[in-house]
Amino acid sequence: MIRYILRRVVAAIPIGVIVTLGVYALVFAMPGDPLRELAGDKPIPAAVLAAKRAQFHLDDPFIVQYLLSMKDILTGNFGTTFAGADIADQLRLRIPVTLKLTLLANVFQWTFGLLFGIYAGFKRNGWIDRSLLLATLVLLAVPGLVAFFAAQFVFGVQLKWFPVSGVLDGFPTSYLLPSLVIGLLGFAGLARLMRTSIVETVNADFVKTARAKGLGEQRVLWRHILPNAMLPVVTFLGLDLAGMFGGAIITESIFNLPGLGQFMFQAIKLKEGGVVVLLSTLAFLSFILINLLVDLLYGILDPRVRHV
């Protein structure tokens, strides 16, 4: 087990290097002077610009800038943003926001997705199944942007069921509406996947064996069908969690949640290579970590691929 984890971690290192290098190169190649964004239309005295340039190594060659950034990241010495914010502070404030949003959204997505997917798959072609398929089609067809704006206006502004934006009301109140919308949008795909997986498992021979053992339908479903049908769904979990980070940019912006997505978007707009790379590294690490966990979980769920 330990060796397996170590091997995975070592294998991730070159990918991490390429990811960070690629992201840094992309940001570096973006046109425009990073410090210009700070100034707006106003002129900044040459001396001020020069001081900032030196502080952020902006005049060094690309590879030096990259290495310096990576050194800062690896030594945990994150420094400040161009605007002067302490990046470590920012992370301390923002990571919990994104985590709360992501986790709550996933709770909704997985609860709805699994329940409906399981039920629909098990009672295939029943009215719940049919209405579920229709509902998922509609949900998948609604652009996320529409859903976020509409939900904010209807449930926040008009009905006042949820806070409109921000995190003032704390967890979970402030996070409910955006999480629900993300969860609903993601639930459609998950429910369909779960349903398909259940449908495929329902016909398996071992399910017949279970029935031949005289087991009740509930027991057949929960003990025999589900653990097997979950396997493909679990692999989806990793990709899905990793994807949430990117998707949060729009959600965080519309609902004014000060999370990593907004930080990232801001850093891109300001061409802060260091911050973008730091956040990409975080995203990458969480991707690797989540995937490792998912693979380990998979191993627990499926003895056939157990990593010893």
Partner: protein, 333 residues
Amino acid sequence: MTATGEVLLKVDNLTVEFDTPRGPVRAVDGVSWQVRAGETLAILGESGSGKSVSTQALTGILEMPPGRIVSGTAEYRGADLIAMTTKERRKIVGDRITMVFQDSLSALNPVQSVGTQIAECYRVHRGLSKKDALKRAAEMLDQVRIPAAAKRARDYPHEFSGGMRQRVMLAMALALDPDVLIADEPTTALDVTVQAQILELIAELQAERDMGVVLITHDLGVVSDVADNVVVMYAGHVVERASTAAALDHPVHPYTEGLLGSMPSADLKGQELPTIPGTPPSLRSIPSGCAFRPRCPIAIEECAHDVPPLLTVAPGRDAACIRRTTLAEKEAV
């Protein structure tokens, strides 16, 4: 060979259809048979002949829909399994009537240890505690001659060899000491030597428990080795029903005859093995009249008119062939 035990399971005029996008398809048509305590009944037929469907239908594990029982009864000690509620049936199926399937790798839940799967029978039907059930499961594994049973109970199906896995299946089926064991091609996927061991094991355990065994197979060799009586099925119909010895010695139906002919034997050494010409019909396009007609060497025009009735040609011997039944009656007279 005796047929003296109590009749445990009696299937009468069972008809099963499937709904397909192109309309209903009759997979089992008016099938009747019975099995007594201590008896081994073989249901013989090619794949698609409806032999598995009939047993799956009466135990309620057939998927319905698309499957549908059109008519018929299946009485266990006088109680009709088909008419009773699912709940009532579950008290019998899995407890008094149990099943063993062909492909033990896919028939066992891949993500549960075999011990757990066997223990589940005790937990559900006997209400044993988890610990007791697991203990009994290990004992059961021991009974089916799995070495180091207590330890292996914790292993998963993929960690067993094919023969061992089939023993696990058997252990699971016999855990509750059933009256009837339905073994659906239990040895098909196994090597010949392993096959013999398993059949021997079934016979041994059967003798211990005075159990009725329904053995579904396409292998005439298996039938001749272990079965007391045999039911031959073709395209959803029972075409011949007899004691094994009688059927092997004097097959009445040309299909049975054909099967016998295609069995390798010492007599035919060095010769090309005869086969039944043609292929079994698709259930969607069963020929009119006798379904075997297109492949039958003695078919005549009348065979296309009606489905031949299953007629008694001798005590305990029935066959469905208008040519042979009439012939047999003449000879008998």
